[in-house]
């Protein structure tokens, strides 16, 4: 077949964005997005990085090379079908060894974000404490969720202010965050609860926790999907910041600009 200008996109083939910071310093920042078998929101995470002005790099779970990326996103989906337990198989992927090692060196270590299934992978890999069990109502739930940013000092939340509210889509079946009370107290005490559900707890998560970080703040995991609130016209119908048009919510974009700005310094 002769090469054509546009082809049916494969995973991670994100077309160049005209918005964002195409020529600025942010575009120098390379953010890797890992695809596992069964990853679903990997293209969406790459699009979010691009829209935030960074350069998205496709990473393959079976590789051993992080391709010199400056940060890593483990996207949502059902890696390995969530078989055995969500994230339980993916954590053994060759690339996860590299990520775990690179993320474990303090505040200058590799920034890592786990979204939904990615959060589950990070808990299985012990980069973050606790675990996710089935929603207390036992159903898959997709809805626009109001969250409060509790900690605006992590690598992934610097663009928000502590206490700020955001509206971000939530969609999962195993989203109930659980941990023992000592761990929960520790998370609260160290300010590592990064996002908390507001108004209504959608799944029974302990202490309304939607997202947490490690001690250094470079590793963050959350169940809602900020990458689905980054582009006006394709996000939620509302925003916590302003009155927006149909599907105009972009409250999640700050997660991606935060890490880019942090890395540019």
């Amino acid at each position: 077949m002769t090469s054509t200008s546009i082809e049916t996109p494969l995973i991670g083939d994100v077309q160049p964005s005209t918005s964002g910071d195409a020529d600025g310093p942010l575009s120098e920042v390379r953010v890797g997005v890992v695809t596992f078998p069964g990853s679903l929101d990997d293209r969406d995470a790459m699009r979010a990085v691009t829209l935030a002005g960074g350069s998205a790099v496709r990473l393959w779970h079976g590789d051993h090379d992080l391709q010199d990326v400056d940060a890593v996103i483990i996207p949502g989906g059902f890696s390995y079908g969530d078989y055995l337990r969500a994230g339980a198989i993916s954590r053994f992927a060759p690339l996860m060894e590299q990520i775990t090692a690179a993320a474990s060196g303090g505040t200058d270590a590799l920034p890592v974000l786990g979204i939904c299934n990615g959060f589950q992978v990070l808990t299985e890999a012990h980069l973050l404490p606790g675990s996710m069990i089935k929603n207390n109502h036992l159903h898959f739930l997709c809805r626009d969720q109001r969250l409060r940013v509790e900690n605006a000092d992590t690598h992934w939340t610097g663009e928000y202010w502590a206490g700020e509210e955001v509206v971000i889509p939530l969609k999962n079946q195993d989203g109930q965050f659980v941990a023992d009370n000592r761990t929960l107290d520790e998370l609260e005490g160290e300010g590592r609860v990064v996002f908390r559900y507001v108004d209504e707890n959608p799944n029974g998560s302990r202490r309304n926790i939607a997202g947490i970080s490690n001690t250094a703040g470079n590793v963050v995991g959350l169940m809602p999907h900020p990458e689905h609130a980054v582009e006006a016209g394709f996000g939620p119908d509302s925003s916590a910041r302003e009155d927006v048009g149909l599907r105009g919510g972009t409250d999640g974009l700050g997660v991606f600009t935060s890490v880019l700005r942090k890395l540019v310094g």
Partner: protein, 762 residues
């Protein structure tokens, strides 16, 4: 030969054995064949079939695979297509799914299918594998699946068995679709006791591809290799096609073992990505998904669509269950499998991609020039047939049909019961009713965000998906059916279903382009049901011609009946439309204070078959009148309004009439409105009840910004289309205020609208 294969030495009924033992009886009746059909197989072969051949013919000649009862009618979809209608068609009826040109080198493929019978027997797996099957049809065309929709019909909401089906079917669709990463962007949920023993579980999938990437199901090129890949073949779904989908449930017959397939969405997700890599690398010549009738279908269809010959060694098939007989392997409907044809030069490239995605594959044989499909079992020939006799030259029946005698009585029984005096209570009752209530409880269990291209989804009129991120080029899809209208008049019912789906797509702002249909009926052996079917096809084909939108493919589901009672004739019609830029799609709710609310179209007293009549337990009379020329003008106005930015919201009027449309528009963004009905009642000479509850067709409500009112009115005048200002959007007052009649606070309306499904199923 592997040790495993060595162990599988059955008492093989080879072709040689069949020729030598002409008198041996085979269980053709148990496999669902009639005596005539069996004799015809003997005639074709010039001998008795082998067990394996009988298995193949029985599944491929089943109603589900062969369309033997419906074929003579379905021809109209092809016969009534004009050249103008074909303009956008890249692939028409007959392939796995139709392909439509949407411009800029992009194409879209879409198709709706049924999985009704399996979903009654095993709701979760039945519904899940229904999604899986339609998605594989889309992949087979070379497309990336980008969205799904699910039109669902259940029995009475308070019947003890309904909760089992609702929970299982909704969870099955979610469990499978969500795991594939496909946004679910719409569908229908209908409750009616006629579907009690026969729920209708239809699934529609949409795929996107470049023109040059279209793949067809054919095996050409002598010497090319045939490969089976994906999941292993197991004992699930054996005989599913011939038994489950083609026989009505009847407890007096000996029970045939339920044979519902079991789905593995993870395997399918991997299969999607792996197939797209195969397409991109151009390493497959032809490809076919394995659905009903499994390997029987894939080998015979690939061979007969190509050069006509194929040679297969069946012991090469990777099995989950080593005890399967050759006939069972040929009939198995194990999910998540594909068959492809690969040139010898591409074998290595093919294997590399399989290994990368850890997908299992086995080389079964090769394409030949003999014109015969030859299948061997450990070197012994067990099948030697002309593949076209299996795949294409099955029996065709001219089933007798006649207009039911009872229909005159039903049509004479017009709705003249109570017209509510308390309109406020009537609106609340309507909006809380099972068919009109909010379907959030269902749709919240589906992912509508994944892939990041969803521009509209439930509860808007159509689902809208962006195709090209650069230009905003995209598509809208809507599915509709009204079994009650079709029961009253199947010809009109089919036209009405198309008109509504067409109107929904136009209401969202897209130009309607093509149709896919799923025709759900009772037993074709009942001449009255057959008449309903014939009338439906005639009505749909006529209406397609009149609106200029071709049917590109679809599915027929017969035998949806329990005992002697058939479901209402239910033609589910999906319409696909195109946007040059999805940014201009129109939502179904208003938001801006002071915008004018206009009604497009006129209203007559048409309550027969309506949701209001349904709430009063009445079904009789004639469905609403339909003029497709009017419908076409309305669509042109709505598309034009979207293109020129003249409206900020639009909602079509269908079930529940103006009352439902106004309620839904107000609830969409929680913004109220003040509505006046006096002028409307005077113009159309109707009372307020009729204005609110009549289901007259070819109507829509739009919200027009003040600055656009003159332009809007001029356009309607120029097209000679009636429109009337009936109110104004009111953000201050959180209510639907129908002046002179009632003031309904939105909180109260919302509570009634949203409470119903959670109360029954939460």
């Amino acid at each position: 030969m592997t040790a495993e294969a060595m162990a599988r030495k059955f008492n093989i009924d080879s072709v040689a054995n069949a020729a030598a033992t002409p008198g041996q009886e085979l269980p053709w009746a148990e496999l669902g064949l009639t005596e005539d059909e069996y004799r015809r197989i003997e005639e074709i072969l010039g001998r008795r079939p082998t067990g394996a051949e009988l298995a193949m013919y029985s599944v491929m000649w089943s109603e589900h695979c062969s369309y033997k009862s419906s074929k003579v009618h379905l021809r109209q979809f092809g016969d009534k297509v004009t050249d103008a209608m074909k303009k956008h068609l890249l692939v028409g009826i007959g392939e796995n799914a139709g392909v439509v040109d949407i411009g800029d080198g992009w194409a879209v493929t879409f198709k709706v299918e049924s999985h009704n019978h399996p979903s009654f027997v095993e709701p979760y797996q039945g519904a899940a594998t229904g999604v899986g099957g339609i998605v594989r049809d889309i992949i087979s065309m070379g497309a990336r699946p980008v969205a799904i929709m699910d039109p669902l019909r259940f029995g009475a909401i308070d019947h003890p068995d309904t909760a089992r089906l609702v929970h299982g079917i909704v969870a099955g669709i979610g469990g499978y679709g969500n795991s594939l990463g496909l946004p679910n962007i719409g569908g229908e949920v209908v409750f009616d006791s006629v579907y009690q023993g026969n729920p209708l579980v239809n699934a529609l999938a949409v795929g996107v591809l470049r023109h040059e990437d279209i793949r067809l199901a054919n095996a050409s090129g002598e010497g090319n290799r045939v490969v089976l890949f994906g999941a292993r073949t197991g004992g699930d779904g054996i005989g599913g096609a011939s038994v489950l989908a083609s026989e009505s449930f009847d407890s007096s017959k000996p029970s045939k073992r339920p044979a519902v397939q079991v789905g593995d969405p993870f395997a399918e997700k991997v299969l999607i990505e792996c197939c797209l890599e195969l397409f991109k690398a151009s390493v497959v010549e032809g490809i076919q998904d394995l659905g009903a009738a499994g390997i029987s279908c894939a080998t015979s269809e690939l061979a007969s669509n190509g050069d006509g010959g194929m040679h297969v060694e069946l012991t090469n098939v990777l099995l989950r269950d080593p005890s399967l007989t050759p006939g069972e392997i040929l009939m198995s409907e194990s999910q998540e499998r594909m068959m492809a044809v690969v040139t010898p030069e591409n074998v290595e490239a093919f294997e590399t991609i399989m290994d990368r995605w850890a997908v299992e594959y086995s080389w079964l044989g090769e394409v030949t020039g003999t014109g015969r499909l030859v299948i061997e079992w450990d070197g012994e020939t067990i099948v030697d047939v002309d593949p076209r006799t299996v795949a294409h030259h099955g029996p065709v029946y001219e089933r007798p049909y006649h207009r039911p005698a009872w229909l005159d009585g039903v049509q004479a029984d017009a709705f003249d019961a109570e017209r509510a005096g308390d309109l406020r209570a009537a609106v609340l009752e309507l909006m809380a009713s099972p068919n009109m209530c909010s379907k959030d409880w269902v749709t919240d269990q589906f992912d509508r965000y994944v892939q990041g291209n969803t521009a509209l989804a439930m509860p808007d009129d159509a689902g809208v998906i962006r195709v090209d991120e650069e230009t905003g080029l995209g598509v809208a899809v809507s599915t509709d059916a009204n079994g009650r209208y079709s029961y009253l008049d199947p010809y009109e019912g089919a036209r009405l279903a198309l008109a509504e789906a067409y109107r929904n797509v136009a209401t969202s702002g897209a130009e309607p382009l093509a149709v896919s249909d799923c025709l759900n009926f009772g037993s074709p052996e009942d001449p009255e049901v057959m008449w309903q079917f014939a009338e439906t096809v005639r009505g749909l084909a006529d209406a397609c011609q009149e609106l200029g939108v071709p049917v590109t493919g679809g599915n027929v589901s017969l035998y949806n009946q329990t005992g002697g009672v058939a479901v209402h004739p239910t033609p589910v019609v999906g319409v696909l439309g195109v946007f040059d830029d999805v940014a201009r799609r129109t939502p179904s709710g208003w938001r801006e204070d002071g915008q004018a609310v206009y009604l497009l179209g006129t209203t007559a007293d048409e309550l027969d078959g309506s949701e209001w009549a349904n709430l009063r337990g009445h079904l009789g009379g004639r469905p609403p009148a339909l003029d497709l020329a009017t419908e076409k003008t309305l669509a042109a106005i709505l598309v034009n309004c979207s293109r020129d930015g003249m409206i900020d919201a639009a909602h079509d009027l269908s079930e529940g009439g103006l009352a439902a449309a106004l309620s839904e528009m107000a609830l969409r963004f929680g913004v109220g409105a003040r509505i006046g009905l006096d002028e409307l009642c005077e113009r159309d000479r109707i009372d307020a009840f009729t204005a609110l509850f009549s289901e007259t067709q070819s109507r829509a409500v739009v919200a027009v910004p003040r600055s656009e009112e003159v332009r809007y009115n001029d356009m309607c005048t120029a097209r000679n289309f009636p429109t009337l200002r009936i109110g104004v959007v009111d953000t201050e007052n959180q209510a639907l205020d129908v002046q002179g009649y009632f003031n309904l606070p939105l909180d109260q309306l919302r509570e009634a609208h949203q409470g119903t499904l959670p109360r029954h199923f939460g």
